[in-house]
Each structure stands twice: as C-alpha cells, then as structure tokens.
Assembly symmetry: C2
Homo-oligomer: 231 residues x 2
C-alpha cells in the first residue's frame, strides 16, 4: 500500500554516487514512517552510467541495479518541456504527520502528474504551492541560474523532499564562480531566470527548454554544470 521508502542513486565506475547522503535520506524517510533505520550494503556496486534503487518497506529491503532508461539519458542531453501546475497545497501548512520530506513509495500522484504532462506533449511538471511558490517536480528538485545566483528551493520552508543532487551542486557553486542561494521563488521569477534545470540522481541536470509552452534559449552553463557534477 505504498507504505515504504526508496532511494535512486547514480551508479558510477567509482561506485554509488553520493552514497552516504542517499543512505542518510533513506534513514530519515524511514524515521518519518516510523520504521527502523535500514542498513543496505551497496558499497561494492558500480557501473559506467547505471541506476541503483534501494526499496525499503516494513517487510523487505530490496536493492536493484539497472541501466539508465533511454528517455532519462535523452532528457539529460536534450532538456525537457515543462508545464507548471498548482498543487492546491499550502507550502506552510502541512499536517503534523506530513511525509513531504520523505521519499515514500506512494508515487501514484507523482506518476499521474507526469502522465498529465505527457498528454499535453510535455515531459514534466513544476509544482506550485497554493501561495504561488515553486515547489519541486514529481521526481526532481528545481535549480535556476539568475545572474551569478545558482538557486534552489529551501526544502524545509517549502515542505518538499530535500534534493541531494541539487544540494551537492550548490556546494560546488563557488568553484564555478557562482553564488549558492536557497530561497522561495514564484513562477514569474523562475521564468525570468537565465536557466532552469530539473535535478535528480539519474538525469543529473535536465535543462528546461520550454516552460508552459514558451521556448527557452539553452544555457552554456548546462554542459559546464553537468561536467562539474561528473555526468
């Protein structure tokens, strides 16, 4: 009944990328579901460009390795067409048991959002709060570049999943001469940014090449930042 948690990691020749960060988030997600901390042993796994999935429920701990699906590789290379949609949820008023910061297996809504986008010939959705703030994508964090500001949405304030790839990218921002910023942002502000990306473990960074039907010029920063992240 979707009552478990999971993590997806990028499998590299050196092993699972950002392993400790993903294991920490898996344990935090489990705690939000009142589950004991899991202890998967995945450190010995590697691939040239693969996917590692850890699924943890009250009955099982499953580790699976697969290739990265072709559409994901294509989105990493060619970018994504994105639609915005109001989630009808207030960012600042989640219930006391909220699982918004847990990567739970209850993904029916996430998948439904992407099918809705696909029906309109788009690839993904940027979720907006009732107040008009940008939250996250169904399976990604939102990152933007505005001048020298490399920004992402603060997960606690927005009540979203803390993005591991986005946090790592922001930690590297100064080495690229950029200024890491976490702040709430409205859709018009986001649309005015120089570049927008969906960040996640397998896509790395997928550049938003159209937002609500408006084409966007591709940014010279996309290959630079993908390189910085080791993709």
């Amino acid at each position: 009944m979707g009552d478990g948690v999971f993590e997806t990691l990028h499998l590299r020749p050196s092993g699972p990328w950002l392993l400790q960060e993903h294991l920490d988030r898996l344990a935090r997600s489990a705690a939000l579901l009142d589950m004991p901390p899991p202890d998967p042993d995945v450190s010995g796994l590697s691939a040239s460009d693969g996917a590692l999935r850890i699924i943890y429920t009250r009955n099982l701990l499953h580790v699976g390795v697969s290739e990265i699906p072709e559409p994901v590789l294509r989105q990493r290379r060619d970018g994504i067409r994105v639609l915005s949609a109001d989630l009808g949820v207030a960012a600042g008023r989640r219930p006391p048991w909220s699982l918004s910061a847990a990567k739970s297996l209850s993904y029916a809504n996430n998948f439904a959002a992407r099918r809705w986008a696909a029906r309109q010939h788009a690839d993904d959705v940027v979720w907006l709060s009732l107040e008009g703030y940008v939250l996250e994508g169904p399976t990604a964090s939102i990152v933007w570049l505005a001048g020298d500001e490399l920004g992402t949405v603060p997960w606690e304030e927005a009540a979203i999943l803390p993005g591991i790839t986005a946090a790592h990218l922001l930690s590297l921002a100064p080495s690229a001469g950029l200024r890491p910023v976490q702040r709430m942002i409205t859709l018009p502000e986001l649309a005015a940014a120089d570049a927008i990306w969906f960040s996640s473990s397998l896509r790395g960074l997928a550049e938003v090449v159209s937002l609500d039907g408006e084409p966007r010029t591709r940014s010279p920063w996309t290959p630079r930042l993908l390189d910085l992240l080791g993709y």
Copy 2:
C-alpha cells in the same frame, strides 16, 4: 511505487456486499490512473463476516480474503476516538491530474495520519481542508446525524473518495425517517451534531465517541443504523 488501485469489501453469507458499486469504483479509480478496466471474478466468495480485498496494478490483479481484524470489530462495537487535523489542502483547488477520487495504493500518508493519532491515544483522524471544511478520514467517510438530517460530505465538491457505505446508508435514510443530505460542514458544526460516524466497508459505522478529546454521548441510532446496513 503505489501506482495502482484497490477496493475493500465486506464479505457476507450472501456474497460480497455492494459488489457492483465497488467494482464500478475500482474501474473509475483505474481510469483516473489511465489503467484499463479490471474484471475480477469474486461473485462466488462469501463469509459470515469477512474482508475481501481486490488489488489492481499495471502488472497484477489480486483478490484476497481474510478475517476482519479484531481492532476493526472493536471499533464497530465500541466506537472511535478521533482527532481533527488540517491537511493543508484546498478542497476546491486540486490539480488537474488529482487522484483524490481514486482509491489508489499510495496510502503512506493515510497510514501516517493514523499513526499520528495513535501516538496521542486516538484511533483515527478527521481531515480538514485549508478552508476549514470536514473532508474524510484516512480510510472512511464521515457521516453525521443532526436532528433528522443524516449527512455526509459531497465527494465531488470536497475532492474526496466517494464513500460507498455512506452513499448506501443515505439511500436508506428515508426508510428510517431521516432526511439524507450531502453538504460541506465545518468542524464546529460537525461537533454540534447529535452523532458522528466513520463509515467504511469493514467497520460499517464506527461511532465517534470522542472528538479532539471531548467525550460524546453515544447515540441510540448507532445500533439502529448498523442493523439497517445489515451489520
């Protein structure tokens, strides 16, 4: 990943109770998830007081029969202690792909709400919309009696799951001299009602015997309505 739908039915000596209604809802839930209509064959099953679960995902159609869990029977008999909580969701502003009317397998949030109640020595939760309206419980519809009004929440307006047991009960209301009403109701209005029940297939009607810590007098209508429903 919680990307499927299900139904739970009350299994009686005469067979699965309200079978067509549950099969219709299963098909509607499936359609909301862009799945073809399922065709489970369960008409031959029966029990004196049992549970029938139909689980339908993109890969499987599973039918399971079990006993009704003892806590469920106890709640049907002794009632439930309920806490109210703001879901942080606007009833009137669900996203275009909303699964709020689908009985999906993504139940992590529903379970988390009940664990939150249990930590405070309560049995269940009544979810409120951002606007202050009563919505539903994690696994039940809300029904109330106020004078001769037997009420429940309109599922389309509230963007909740259409409750089959509640709808059936309301269809029988006139035979008990009661007036069936579907309307939005605030928490103070609900608290002022003569009786409140959580209705679902296995519990039938579980009377709310305390709401947010305030004890409530048991209603003489509880055994009458349970009898009317055939429990």
